[in-house]
């Protein structure tokens, strides 16, 4: 039951991240504009796009979903900083950002023990 419920919190951010990653990697005009404002065009856009895609893939794997959530949390913290300091907030981005942030937090809280430095020690 718990696992099935968690799948919602894995699927939703994974879908959003796939979308944003695709936008960044395919040089969608709005993303290009955003990263020009941040002064990271195009290198930063590609790096973040790849990281988002990876996080989405990991979120979909039963074994590495915690790692995916950790990566997603990292990108979202970066996005939060960007919105706070440079871009400002609009309703659409706020919704996407907060849903990915919250669901990855839920997955992390449920599964942090799967992560290497946070899980139980398997050796003596």
């Amino acid at each position: 039951m718990k696992n099935k419920l968690l799948w919602i919190f894995q699927l939703v951010p994974a879908a959003i991240l796939f979308g944003t990653a695709y936008g960044k990697l395919s040089s969608k005009p709005s993303e290009v504009h955003l990263f020009s404002v941040l002064g990271m065009e195009p290198t930063g856009r590609f790096i973040i796009g790849i990281v988002e895609g990876l996080a989405a893939l990991l979120l979909l794997s039963p074994r590495y979903s915690a790692a995916g959530a950790f990566l997603a949390l990292g990108t979202m913290l970066g996005a939060l900083i960007a919105h706070l300091t440079v871009i400002g907030f609009d309703p659409k981005h706020t919704l996407l950002l907060s849903s990915v942030l919250l669901s990855s937090l839920v997955v992390l809280i449920a599964r942090y023990r799967h992560l290497p430095l946070l899980g139980p020690k398997t050796r003596d």
């Binding site: 913290l77 900083i81 430095l117």
Partner: protein, 506 residues
Amino acid sequence: MAASWTVNLEKISRVVNFGLPALTVAFFLAGYFSSFYFHFLTVFFLLMTLINIFYRRVQKDHALLTNFGWVAQGRYLLESIGPELRQYLFTTDTEERPFSRVERMEVYRKSKDIDASSAFGSQLEFDGSEYKLRHSMYPTLVAEAEPYALTFGEERGLPSAYTVTKPVMISAMSYGSLGKNAVRALARGARKAGIPMNTGEGGLPKYHLMEGCDLIFQMGTAKFGCRNEDGSLHEGRLREIARLPQVKMIEIKFSQGAKPGKGGLLPREKITREIAELRGVPMDRDVISPPAHVECTDPDATVRFIGRVQDISELPVGIKFCLGREAEFRVLVRAMARHQIFPDYIALDGAEGGTGAAPKSFMDDLGIPILTALPAVHQILKEEEVRDRLKLVAAGKLVNPGKQLIALSLGAQAVYTARGFMLALGCIQALTCNRNTCPVGITTHNPALQRGLDIEVKSERVKNYVVNLVHDHYELLTSLGKRSFRELNEDNLLLPTAAGTGRGRL
């Protein structure tokens, strides 16, 4: 002045605990005022800080993490590679366990067929704490030595009596404890070397059968391959297995040195679909064999069971156990005499014997070591005047020719070794046989790890190991002034004395 240079981990941890949030702020400012790229580091240190807060304020499992945070993780990381570091760098050539580098190197060199001579002097002890062989002033010549031969089942006049021509045999290792490449490499090597291989208690020995070597089928307490639902013997299946032309003998396993008093254990990690099918067991839990055969409730029942297996199989039938109490064994021998049913051989396993998996206390604290058990069993058989009714095979860390000759001098007529052959296959003593992660692909079913175990190359190593062992056996035999392995006895030995540790180290 020296004190100011000592490493104070507590202070370092305080610096780190303060430094992580400070760096987060610093990089945030850099990101804000300089380039947004700095925010990669802001996020990194922010996450590090959050984890540190988790260590110090949330988790309760580790006092070190609560008190020191990230710095304590360094201890766990270093500790986790301790076994490797010790083996690579810090352990001396004689102190590694269970096999020291000196012992392992001898097997490696024999199996690779390279110069096995040593220089300058022995690494072992000469303080009376170890068994030594007594040579003769009048050595004989290898060319004049009588070739070794031992016929199992000759006492009963069996048409299927089985003769071995080398005093060393491959001891029980099942498919399950070993991966298929390892089993096939051993089996192919056994065929090349002309020695038999024990199948271990793993059900129908599918992979053992592939290479055409002689086999000793082991029937453990769970009777994999020939069991009824209730764990009793399925006579028809045993008969089918005994009719396989490669199966030369049957061995009933009562106990093993590594975990006497307990049945076999195959950890869940190592159970593949195929193994579950071969053994008829579920995949989702450890497979633990019962501690005893359901048929064998007392000495008489045990002897009758041995007789039954002999009748069904029409092959030489041995029993394998680790000695616990001499008196108990004597009662069993008397029951054998009363019923006039003797196993064709006894495989005596020492408490130092190896295993893929066993509870630690059973491995460490239970059973009699082989060099103590062997003379005791030999003596009891002589006292009961039945020594000539069966053969005695010794096992338990007997991987080197000298140790094997010591066992042959203490009453054994042949020796079994399993780990000797694993070392010949390239075992590096990583001690992970129970985790399915064997780095050299021997005790794992992970195809990626088994890839490194080339069956043809390793089977050649197995053959070389046998050839060089037997070479040394004859060399040692003749240096003792003997012409036949049958002449070996305790008088060849210098026994450990109280002056040493008295443990008779191997």
